[in-house]
Amino acid sequence: MKTNVLYRILTVMVVFAGLVVWQGCKPKAPASVSMGDAATKTYVPPGKYDEFYNVVSGGFNGQMSIYGLPSGRLFRIIPVFSVFPENGWGFSEETKPMLNTSHGFVPWDDLHHIALSTTKGEHDGRWAFGNANNTPRVARVDMKTFKTMEILELPNSGGNHSSPFITENTEYVVAGTRFSVPVGDKTDVPISTFKENFKGYISFISVDPTEGEMKIAFQLKTPGVSFDLARAGKGKSHGWFFFSTYNTEQAYTLLEVNASQKDKDFIMAVNWKKAEEYIAAGKGEKVKAKYAHNVYDESSHTSTSEMMNEVLQLDPAVLKDIIYFIPCPKSPHGCDTDPTGEYIVGSGKLAALIPVFSFTKMQQAIANKEFEGEFAGIPVIKYEAALHGEVKKPGLGPLHTEFDANGNAYTSFFVSSEIVKWNVQTLEVLDRVPTYYSIGHLSVPGGPTAKPHGKYVVAYNKITKDRYLPTGPELTQSAQLYDISGDKMKLLLDFPTTGEPHYAESIPAELIMPNSVKIFKLEENKHPYAALGEGQAKVERKGNEVHVYMTAIRSHLTPDNIEGVKLGDDVYFHVTNLEQDWDVPHGFAIKGANNAEILIMPGETSTLKWKPLSTGVFPFYCTDFCSALHQEMQGYIRVSPAGSNVPLKFSTGKIEDQSSGAGQ
């Protein structure tokens, strides 16, 4: 056994060594891409667990995926903003309302960033939030079931990129618009009237501390710029939020050039406690706005979508002291607060240095009114007055920074494809490693929290050519795992990812694993169409609707013979999985269905709608291999012409006597 493990490790090491040699002839790939003991550091033997859950955004697949670290193994894809035919998300009757918006049913989105809930600035393992960048929304995933429980649309937003960053105790999730847009009654305007008519909005979404339910607490009406990323203050800076901005040029065409004119854009500092004071004093204005709020209920296994019609807004140009601008070079992307909350790191993606701002100095500058002027009625703090210092010549194109528990920062550099480690106090560059290639965000376990777990940094790269076996023009996206436990960063592992991961967070397994739900209890199933026991299986007609209350257990469906359905009927298969054991889902699929299959977890009820388009006998079956007799888990439904007099009937295990003419 022991030699076997050693043999496997040796094999992995040999493969790594091979990669090193192979990479040797590629441009930019240095010979020492991985160290000799890299294989043992990422090898998780069969039957053992990874140390961290890695919650990764899916980018253009609209989903979240769950990996293990340090192995890089993919465990699960959680459908969030995109339909998922694999399990029926967005296709089943119960989940369709989750994707409802003020624009109707939107089956896809672009999920960029993850925020794991925190208490006192530390990971608490309750929820993961994700943002929809295209049709602006925020989602909340429950880390007990790894299921999307809530999706909230954001009015007055043109693209929710600066999101879903959270405050220290998950009081708020923020949502800042990437596109400023004309809002309110005056939306049909010439695009060239950008400066006059376009506004940016930042939403503060409150999160119920026990149930997690989200609500737009207020929106800040801000000048027409683009918001990119954000981080909350923590510790001494709790009560503040920091947003990076670009396009302060207020360009509306060829932004590549026209939004890159100024030497400095801004970091926008928001005093949200001050905003709360104004709201308490009745200074908020209720404004008409249409947006959907979709909630999944775990006891009925059903979601509902409610259309909301107003939102509370504050105008910081009028209500002073809510927001301040700090100049920041140049088109900043990352805007990251260190674990103490004192330092705010701006990463100008066109800059060749990294400015680090001091919260204490910023507060003094505000008190002493050290302003260089105003932008759209908002005070602009003098750059030097808020500056702790600059990291000189760190690399090209700093993008995003996270931290370890020892006062070090790790910044990704897109243009120069590297991670640079530097000391937050001294601003001294300590180490640099190449990434393959063009790193976007990076992620240290607990890196954005008050208590980083450290150990690793993961690079999420945008380009992977020559790193994996080619698969035509479209290549896998790549993550790279580095050990940061020593003075020097060491590349340990490349692993492919699904979709396009923009950002991820990692959390120690012990904060999630003990709470993971294994089954839904049948006794607690409140689905209106549940059949809680085979005796409750039945078929009912309501006008043109036929409702099949079906049960599934290894290995039969009840009823499995259904007759009396007519052309023109809508048939609803409400399937209850009667299993109460972990890892025994059943599936349900029927020939010709225009939607998808459904996967039903133990104790759950899920509904697939089916509209037959021709007469005949149609097979249905279980799609999830459940037992030795899984292949026998099947049935038939007979569809007769409209107006036929075939009676509605259903059975399982009933052998009809053909001599009596039954079934004719």
Binding site: G47, K48, I519
Partner: protein
């Protein structure tokens, strides 16, 4: 050796995590249970060591047992002697000890691994009886319902 140390550290980290899936090299409680099984093999393997049966039947248990049967058992077990997925329940309380029945319900995976009578049933039905997440109290209620089904008053 380094990887061994790492493995031990990770193993220690999870030593307190509940409901850890069983690794091949460590199966908790089974040996202990097996010893007890040898002492009275007809009682099966599991937490249920002794059951006291009362006459007349405890009617509240019978009622609860029936509703559990309808929700979690009826799909596979008929109340007469016919076998569908699993054996019919007629006369089960005359053939099996009450402890065996309750251990089969509450500890089915271990029973199917180790109990010779349970293994014979698996060979007959070729379908592992599922764990239906029932407490010992639930199993006791179902047992009372089985006694009624077998004609006890």
């Amino acid at each position: 050796m380094k990887y061994l140390v790492a493995t031990v550290v990770i193993a220690l980290m999870f030593a307190c995590a509940p409901d850890k899936p069983v690794n091949t090299e460590e199966k908790p409680d089974i040996n202990q249970s097996a010893v007890e099984a040898i002492t009275d093999p007809t009682k099966g393997i599991g937490a249920v060591k002794n059951v006291t049966l009362n006459t007349p039947l405890e009617q509240d248990r019978v009622k609860r047992g029936l509703s559990i049967y309808e929700m979690k058992c009826l799909s596979c077990h008929k109340l007469d002697e016919t076998r569908i997925v699993g054996p019919g329940w007629k006369d089960i309380t005359k053939k099996r000890k009450p402890e065996w029945i309750m251990n089969m319900i509450t500890n089915v995976d271990v029973m199917l691994e180790q109990d010779p009578e349970a293994q014979k049933l698996l060979e007959l039905c070729l379908m592992r009886m599922p764990n239906q997440n029932m407490s010992i109290g639930d199993a006791r209620d179902v047992l009372e319902f089985m006694r009624q089904n077998d004609g006890e008053k």
